[in-house]
Amino acid sequence: MKFGVVVFPGSNCDHDAYHAATDVVGQDAEYIWHKDTSLKGADVIVLPGGFAHGDYLRTGAIARFSPVMASVIDFARGGGPVLGICNGFQVLLEAGLLPGAMLRNRDVTYHCEHVIVRIEQTDTPFTLGGTRGQRLRLPIAHGEGNYYADPEVIRDLEASRRVIFRYCDERGEPTDAANPNGSLNNIAGICNEARNVVGLMPHPERACEGSLGSSDGLVLLQSVVTALTHEGALRT
C-alpha cells in the first residue's frame, strides 16, 4: 500500500513522515506537491507538520486553498484515511474536514517537548492497533495547539466518541498540568463523523524509532496499514 505525503511550501515534517512510512514501516510512499490535483494512487494521505505558506494569517488558513486540498477533501469524503499531524491538523480544521480551531498556546509559548497522550478510541484506521487508555509518549512542537470549539461542538465530540487522543499525565489522568497548551478537555486529537479523518498535534512520525527517544508513534502508522490490508480490520 502507498502513503501520499502532501508537501506545502513550508512543510518541514514531510520527510519524517516519508521516512517513517518507507524505512520504518516498509510501505511505499510518494510526495504530493500542493499544486498537484492527483493523489498519485495513494491509499492513505498524510498532511505533515510544518508551517504551510508560512502560517501567515492563521495556521492552515492559506494551505486549505491549495489545489491539492480539493482532491484530499474528495478522498476523505469517499472514506479514504487521512492523517493530519500538527500543521496538518490545523489545515484539516481550516478546511472544515474536522471541527474547531486552534488558538495560541495559553502561555503564549512555543512548546517543543515530549508529552503523553492517551488513546481514547480505537475504532479509527489510525488507532485500531492500539488499546483504549494506552499511553503514548510523543513529541510536540507548536505555538498554536490550543484546541477550541464551541461548547456544543465539544459536547458533540465527546458524545460521539470523536476525541481520539487526550493529553494526560504518567498515570493516564488528563490533568491540567499535563495539558501543554490549554486545549479544551485536554484534546490532543479528534476524528470526523465517519472516523476516517484524524488530526492530532503530537508527532507520531517523529516517534517511530527507539533511537529517536520513542517508538510509541508507530501504532498509528501500523494501524492504518492493517486497516488497509486486512478486510474488516476496522469492524472489530
Binding site: R58, A101, L103, R104, N105, R106, V108, Y148, D150
Partner: protein
C-alpha cells in the same frame, strides 16, 4: 477605494496574547487598563464602483479568508 477590516476573537474565546499584554501593562503600573483583546487589521485596496460594492467585496474576502468564523468575528469600514 480603501476598506478596512478588523478581525477580533469572539468575546467567548480566550485570548492568550491579549491577556499577556494586559498583564504586562499592569506590571508597568497601568492599573487603569482593564481587559486587552488583540486582533488583526487589514487595509484593502479595492476596485469597486461604489462604497456598497466595496463593502460587499471586503465582507466576501473576510468570510472566505481573513476571519475564521469558529473563533473570530469581523467589522468592515469603507473609506469615504
Amino acid at each position: 477605494m480603501k476598506a478596512r477590516v478588523y478581525v477580533t476573537l469572539k468575546p467567548s474565546v480566550f485570548d492568550p496574547q491579549g491577556q499577556t499584554i494586559a498583564d504586562a501593562l499592569h506590571s508597568l503600573g497601568y492599573a487603569g487598563v482593564g481587559d486587552v483583546r488583540q486582533g488583526k487589521f487589514f487595509e484593502l485596496d479595492l476596485q469597486a464602483g461604489s462604497r456598497e460594492q466595496a463593502r460587499t467585496l471586503a465582507s466576501e474576502v473576510a468570510d472566505k479568508l481573513l476571519a475564521n468564523p469558529v473563533i473570530e468575528s469581523y467589522r468592515v469600514e469603507v473609506e469615504s
